[in-house]
Amino acid sequence: MVAHPDSLNTLKLSDHTPSVQELRSSLHRMQREFRPGPQAGPRSPSKDIVSTGIAALDRILPARGLMKGTLSEWIATEPGSGAVSLAMRVASRVQRGGTLILVDQPRQFYAPAIQSLGVCLAETILVRPATQGDELWVLEQSLRCPGVSVVLCQLDRLTTQQFRRLQLAAGSGTAIGMLIRPAVAQRQSSWADVRLQVSPRPSSPRSFRRCLNVRCVYAKGSLADQTVDLEFCDETGRAHE
């Protein structure tokens, strides 16, 4: 079979073909226009999107918040990074009106700290599985339960198949799954809709306010790699950019 010479001409890249940089910028523009959220785009805000309560953090998320029925990964780059505290603050905001399930295999969650981050303890259930098998079972069951708002768990090891099962479980319910992962998880594949990397930043010696750098390293169906610096006031619990 011989191709027609005219058709070959059409495959040639002409001088008017846009460069990769131009394509990327136009893609960015289109995404910004069609991003679901209260401020941008023609789409109306969906009731399935819940704000994190931190405006700066919402801005780097593709849906301007966390989507119900999805998983989000919070990667702590090092011990003491503040990833769990940040996730807990967000969980307290997302929890309102529903139940928060804290899966705590090492039995180390500290109730006064959780309460000070705004979590309603009366609506919180602490689940303490003995094995990793039980832990994953608890996560699946909790994510599928329609009355649960948030499921938060620290998971060090997770195979792709296990992750996929959790994603399917989350998709069949309305809970937001928040998985706290160690730094090594960055090199592993993920089934989460959003992957956030939380790194500590040195605070000002005068204020001693907690400073964090949050980077959206992956967002499903959207270009990621957006970063925000946050500063938290211990007294008020408010976040500043």
């Binding site: 702590a76 090092e78 011990p79 003491g80 990074s81 503040g82 990833a83 769990v84 505290s85 807990m88 529903g98 139940t99 804290l102 090492p106 180390q108 969650f109 500290y110 109730a111 006064p112 700290a113 959780i114 309460q115 000070s116 981050l117 303890l121 009366a122 919180t124 259930i125 602490l126 689940v127 303490r128 599985p129 003995a130 039980d134 079972w137 608890v138 069951q141 909790s142 339960c145 329609p146 009355g147 649960v148 706290i180 790194s199 500590p200 930043r201 040195p202 605070s203 010696p205 001693f208 907690r210 400073c211 964090l212 211990d234 007294e235």
Partner: protein, 512 residues
């Protein structure tokens, strides 16, 4: 069918009773034997008879039969002559008593103390509602809800609340008013719960009302009418005590299956469990109760049976849900390989909760409220009671003592929610066991400069001022004196360190 509620909580009566006085509620079910049959969808004219010595007498008659002139105490032949197309049935007094006890079970949601009237007319329930009424919006609210509950089961009832059993009974049977002494005195003498023979004697003396009797000299009454008259008069006005004879609770509902041919296949066990649980729930349904705790005994015919205890977060009558929980429990517990008998017992029951409907939102919250309870049941069945808890804060200064947990079955009270100490400084989300670390400090009691932990050396860039936590020497757990620091490394990571009174350093938490 309308019910009358004699609400005696009028201002006049409230004024009489102080906070400590008892409040008694009487439920009278008029023509109860006929009502019981009507509940079984029996709608024709009905007459009940019973043998009395050599005669057969009418015990109760429905309103349709009464229209034809049939009355209680009439002979059966006479009643048949008056209305032969009516249904004539033998009276089953035992069935009446059983049904009355079932209704008493229903009333336990209103009061823990329930008794039966022991006089001739036994179709009454007596409830001691002292201290219970405020839970239902007052005595009037309680009485109305009770009447509605009974009406839902097809029973017409008269309910009255008063200071004494006698007054409550009298008003429920004969009163249309409040329970003040003046009103009680206007009631007929039958309201004193005295035998019919004595009522006839009093009428011979033209003593028609309680007031007329009360006006007579009390010491002259026993010689003429016996001791009971003075006793009843004293009881109705509260001058004499009267004990409420409590009704024993029904035996816990149970279902059992035994066989000579032992079973071992999980499908067979599951099938038997399904049958038994369905039977158990059917029994509870007649009591309007839901299952809150279940004991399962699996016997292998030789040794002691394996006992599994299952607790549920909220009362339920859902067979599917209970089966699910039982199956999870069986999966995670070692049970005998060969099973000869399976025995279920409802170890804990509670009235089924009515779910509140939201005014504006959709049906979603109603479904959600139950779904979390069911989730908790499944989690408890697999992880045990200790594995599924509520976090709690305690008013303790020592950090590891300030955090606790409570079982889901325990009510999470307002007190438990707000008893934590007001602490301005931050606490780590994860609290570890104090772990000894090597710290270099400026001085012996100075701030730390760097420390080693988990095979790494951390340089401290800045830290908070010292927070001293000390407890008194007389405390049972021993005296504690610690100087805490929130230390921030050069990268911004934060740790919670403390130095004890010996100068040794510990890592107590990581601000993850």
């Amino acid at each position: 069918m309308s019910d009358r509620v004699s609400d005696t909580s009028t201002p006049a009566l409230k004024h009489e009773s102080d906070e400590c006085s008892a409040r008694m509620l009487c439920v009278w079910l008029p023509n109860f034997p006929i009502q019981r049959l009507r509940c079984r969808h029996f709608s024709e004219a009905c007459v009940l008879y019973a043998n009395s010595g050599s005669r057969t007498l009418i015990v109760a008659a429905s309103n349709e039969a009464r229209l034809h002139g049939i009355r209680s105490g009439m002979s059966l032949a006479e009643a048949q002559a008056l209305h032969d197309s009516a249904v004539f049935l033998p009276h089953d007094a035992d069935a009446d008593a059983t049904e009355l006890k079932l209704l008493a079970e229903l009333c336990y949601r209103y009061s823990p103390l329930i008794g039966l009237e022991l006089s001739d007319d036994a179709h009454c329930l007596l409830l001691d509602i002292s201290g219970c009424a405020h839970l239902f919006g007052g005595e009037s609210g309680l009485a109305r809800r009770l009447v509605v509950d009974l009406a839902e089961r097809g029973y017409f009832a008269h309910v009255a609340v008063a200071r004494t059993i006698g007054a409550a009974w009298a008003i429920a049977r004969y009163g249309h008013c409040t329970g003040s002494d003046r009103r009680l005195k206007s009631l007929p003498v039958q309201a004193l719960r005295i035998p019919n023979k004595l009522v006839s004697q009093l009428r011979e003396f033209d003593l028609q009302t309680i007031g007329q009797l009360d006006a007579l000299p009390k010491n002259s009454l026993p010689s003429r009418f016996g001791k009971i008259l003075n006793e009843r008069l004293g009881q109705i006005f509260g001058h004499r005590p009267e004990l409420l004879v409590l009704l024993p609770r029904l035996e816990p509902a149970s279902a059992e299956w035994t066989t000579d041919e032992a079973i071992c296949h999980p499908k067979a066990i599951q099938h038997v469990c399904t049958e038994l649980l369905a039977e158990l729930l059917e029994t509870l349904k007649t009591r309007s109760e839901g299952l809150l705790g279940l004991t399962l005994r699996l016997g292998n015919g030789t040794s002691v049976p394996a006992v599994l205890k299952i607790g549920l977060a909220r009362p339920t009558d859902s067979l599917k849900h209970i089966l699910n929980v039982v199956q999870l429990k069986l999966d995670t517990t070692t049970i005998p390989e060969w099973i000869h008998s399976i025995h279920f017992e409802a170890s804990d029951v509670s009235p089924l909760q009515v779910q509140q409907r939201s005014l504006f939102s959709s049906q979603e919250p109603i479904a959600n409220a139950g779904s979390v309870g069911k989730l908790a049941d499944r989690l408890i069945a697999r992880l045990g009671n200790d594995g599924v808890v509520h976090p709690r804060v305690l008013p303790e200064a020592v950090p590891e003592q300030a955090s606790s947990v409570s079982l889901l079955s325990e009510p999470f009270t307002e007190m438990a929610r707000s008893v934590g100490l007001q602490i301005s400084s931050a606490r780590p989300v994860f609290l570890r066991r104090p772990e000894t670390i090597q710290v270099t400090a400026i001085a012996k009691d100075g701030t730390p400069l760097h420390f080693g932990w988990s095979g790494r050396c951390y340089q401290i860039a800045c830290c908070t001022t010292v927070e001293r936590i000390a407890t008194a020497w007389w405390q049972e757990s021993g005296s504690v004196q610690r100087d805490y620091y929130q230390a921030e490394t050069q990268s911004g990571a934060r740790f919670w360190l403390f130095r004890d009174r010996t100068g040794e350093w510990f890592l107590h938490g990581v601000f993850e």
